[in-house]
């Protein structure tokens, strides 16, 4: 028997409601490398129902270029970087594309950038993949990050500038390897970015997957994680901050297909300004054979101003009763006026009080990232976002 919960449309200050029947099991979702199998969406499909499909329309087409972004890799001394053709057998091993932009990205990319952490190598430095928007021409890109058995390292993919990018990021973590992959979306205002992250986690391997989204017009990231060996562990951490008219969507899928694996998902976002829209969907599937699974996912949204909207949908499907633990939590709250009153009653001006509360909201998550350069950059970006809303507040007050 399958137990399913859905949490459609978490509303401000309300706990999410159980009992809405989702549109079919995640296990039944069509995946394919073939364009013909996954048609152009209308926006009514389960996986597109929150998305601005009109703004993503160019990415649904088959024709993509390759020159819209400049990619620069600065690798750790132990790491290896290659550009390979799409026929390289190491590509396409992390699962098939699961939606239209993922399948067009797969088919449109002619080559791939492969970062390899060789077997048993422990990287002494971060490997940085900088993806800089050069033109707004529609571009497909394919990256593979591969940690061979018992390798350890950190790879940061850093997106900046203005671009229209449809991207595949494959992540392979072989037996016993410990890999951290950080993807930062710090785009200019007009950027449109769809990205399918597909991770495969081997026996006793550990992946920490970190997503940080600040900029862009539309950013839609779909990280999938699949366990292929017992004892695997994935920690997925996300942090986002949406401004007026920005759409930031993060759709995760963790597939517990083998026994005794662990997953932890923690995503937190703040939003401000009219038309700011964030979407978080967390699908977790515990298959019948995945006994001893331990999973927990959490999403929190902090709505700073009127006119912003957050959709939060945790979705847990459990096909076996023999599990360690499975849970989820989702909450979307408005800025808490009682917190503001408490801080202001201690002499702290409203602007500083709001800053304290928002920083506090993210603080715990930032500590979890574990990559100091990313943490510092993140704090600076949060400050910059807050400056925007603070100037609005002081403008009203004066």
């Amino acid at each position: 028997m399958a137990i399913t919960t859905d949490h459609s449309r978490a509303v401000a200050d309300g706990a999410h409601s159980h009992g809405v029947v989702p549109a079919g099991s995640r296990a039944e979702r069509k995946t394919s490398f073939d364009l013909a199998d996954i048609p152009v969406p209308t926006g009514r499909e389960e996986e597109w129902r929150f998305s601005p499909v009109a703004r993503l329309q160019p990415l649904f087409g088959e024709e993509h270029g390759a020159g819209g972004v400049l990619t620069t890799v600065v690798e750790a001394p132990e790491a290896k970087v290659e550009i390979v053709g799409k026929d390289d057998p190491r590509l396409g091993t992390t699962g098939k594309p699961g939606d239209r932009t993922a399948v067009t990205a797969w088919n449109a990319a002619a080559e791939a950038t492969v970062v390899t952490l060789p077997a048993e190598a422990v990287a002494t430095d971060v490997t940085s993949v900088r993806v800089e928007g050069a033109t707004k021409d529609l571009t497909a890109q394919h990256l593979l990050v591969h940690a061979e058995h018992h390798a350890e390292g950190v790879v940061v993919i850093d997106h900046r500038g203005d671009a229209t990018l449809n991207q595949t990021v494959e992540i392979v973590v072989d037996e016993g390897a410990h890999l951290t992959v950080v993807s930062v979306q710090d785009w200019a205002d007009g950027a449109v970015h769809a990205s399918s992250h597909r991770a495969r986690i081997g026996r006793d391997a550990k992946l920490k997957h970190v997503v940080v989204t600040f900029g862009g017009d539309v950013v839609r990231l779909t990280p999938d994680a699949t366990f292929t060996g017992e004892g695997g562990e994935v920690e997925m951490v996300g942090l986002y901050f949406a401004d007026a008219d920005q759409h930031q969507e993060h759709r995760l899928f963790v597939d517990h297909a083998v026994p005794r694996c662990k997953s932890r998902v923690t995503y937190k976002g703040a939003l401000q300004g009219a038309g700011a829209h964030v979407v978080w969907v967390g699908d977790v599937l515990i298959q019948a054979e995945a006994e001893g699974t331990d999973t927990y996912e959490l999403n929190r949204n902090l709505v700073l101003t009127d006119g912003a909207r957050a959709d939060s949908v945790p979705n847990l499907e459990i096909e076996t009763g023999e599990i360690e633990g499975a849970g989820h939590a989702s909450a979307t709250g408005r800025f808490d006026d009682e917190q503001l009153f408490y801080l202001m009653a201690r002499g702290i001006p409203e602007v500083d009080a709001r800053r304290l509360v928002v920083r506090g909201f993210f603080a715990e998550l930032i500590d979890e990232i574990g990559v100091p350069s990313v943490e510092e950059r993140l704090l600076a970006s949060i400050e910059a976002e807050l400056e925007k809303s603070m100037s609005a507040i002081t403008g009203v007050a004066e």
């Binding site: 808490d336 006026d337 009682e338 917190q339 009153f341 408490y342 801080l343 202001m344 009653a345 201690r346 002499g347 702290i348 001006p349 409203e350 500083d352 009080a353 304290l356 509360v357 920083r359 506090g360 909201f361 993210f362 603080a363 715990e364």
Partner: protein
């Protein structure tokens, strides 16, 4: 000498059914160094007085005046009132996740004084004040009020009173929910602040037991949104024996 002067104060609270009057003409003058106890049954408006003085947005002043040292307190924002020297020890202190006590105390102290406290002395001062209130030093790194017990929250409020050195402190049922040991520790903190800074104290309480530790100069009985009787410490003793029965009509009841 600083004075907090409340004149004919009327306050309403916003409810779904519209504005509901709570305070119906409060007159009270507190000079620095004085301790005034406000006692009354539940629902008499004691806590409303505390929140309205601090500027909580839920309450609307419909008429009357409040001045602090001659300045119009009601014209000030919440943070301006605090910087003018008013402190409210809250009945239900609010959790602020992710903001450490140490960071909070330093930020507030900086805001109130208009300059950052001297690094060398501030650390010592905080540590000493925490020890006096028997607050474990690990609290400095914990989030403000998050996961604190009722007693820990109240001690944290009095810690702030000692460190921020306000001219006037309103203690809103600081004694409620405290066991005898915690009550004694908290009361000692208030008495230290009184002897160190000449702070004027408005002590709001339902019970007389805190008055065994903090001696009031004046006692006011609060009934149905205004002061029904005033006197010295002996009034508290009468209340101890007789309760609020003689004051309570149909409008308010003992809990």
């Amino acid at each position: 000498m600083p004075t907090l002067e409340i004149r004919d104060l009327h306050v309403s609270v916003e409810t779904k059914e519209g504005a509901k009057p709570i305070l119906r003409g409060v007159d009270l003058t507190i000079n620095s160094g004085e301790t005034h106890a406000i006692m009354g049954p539940n629902g008499s408006g004691k806590s409303t007085l505390a929140s309205a003085l601090a500027g909580h947005p839920k309450y609307t002043v419909t008429s009357g005046t409040v001045t602090l040292d001659g300045e119009d307190l009601l014209a000030m924002t919440v943070d301006e009132r605090a910087r003018a020297g008013l402190f409210l020890a809250m009945q239900y202190p609010v959790e602020v996740p992710g903001v450490s006590v140490a960071n909070f105390l330093r930020t507030a102290k900086t805001a109130i004084d208009g300059e950052a406290p001297a690094l060398r002395t501030w650390g010592k001062e905080v540590k000493g004040a925490m020890e006096n209130l028997r607050i474990d030093s690990t609290f400095a790194e914990r989030s403000v009020n998050e996961g604190f017990s009722g007693g820990e929250k109240k001690r944290h409020e009095i810690l702030q009173m000692e460190l921020f050195k306000p001219h006037f402190a309103i203690l809103d049922e600081t004694d409620s929910g405290l066991d005898v040991d915690a009550l004694r520790v908290v009361s000692e903190g208030v008495n230290r602040a009184k002897s160190n800074t000449d702070v004027g104290v408005l002590l709001i309480t339902h019970y007389t037991r805190i008055l065994r530790y903090i001696k009031p100069d004046f006692v006011h009985v609060f009934v149905d949104g205004k002061i029904a009787e005033e006197g010295g410490p002996e009034l508290a003793e009468q209340l101890e024996e007789n309760g609020y029965d003689k004051y309570v009509g149909t409008g308010a009841t003992m809990a």
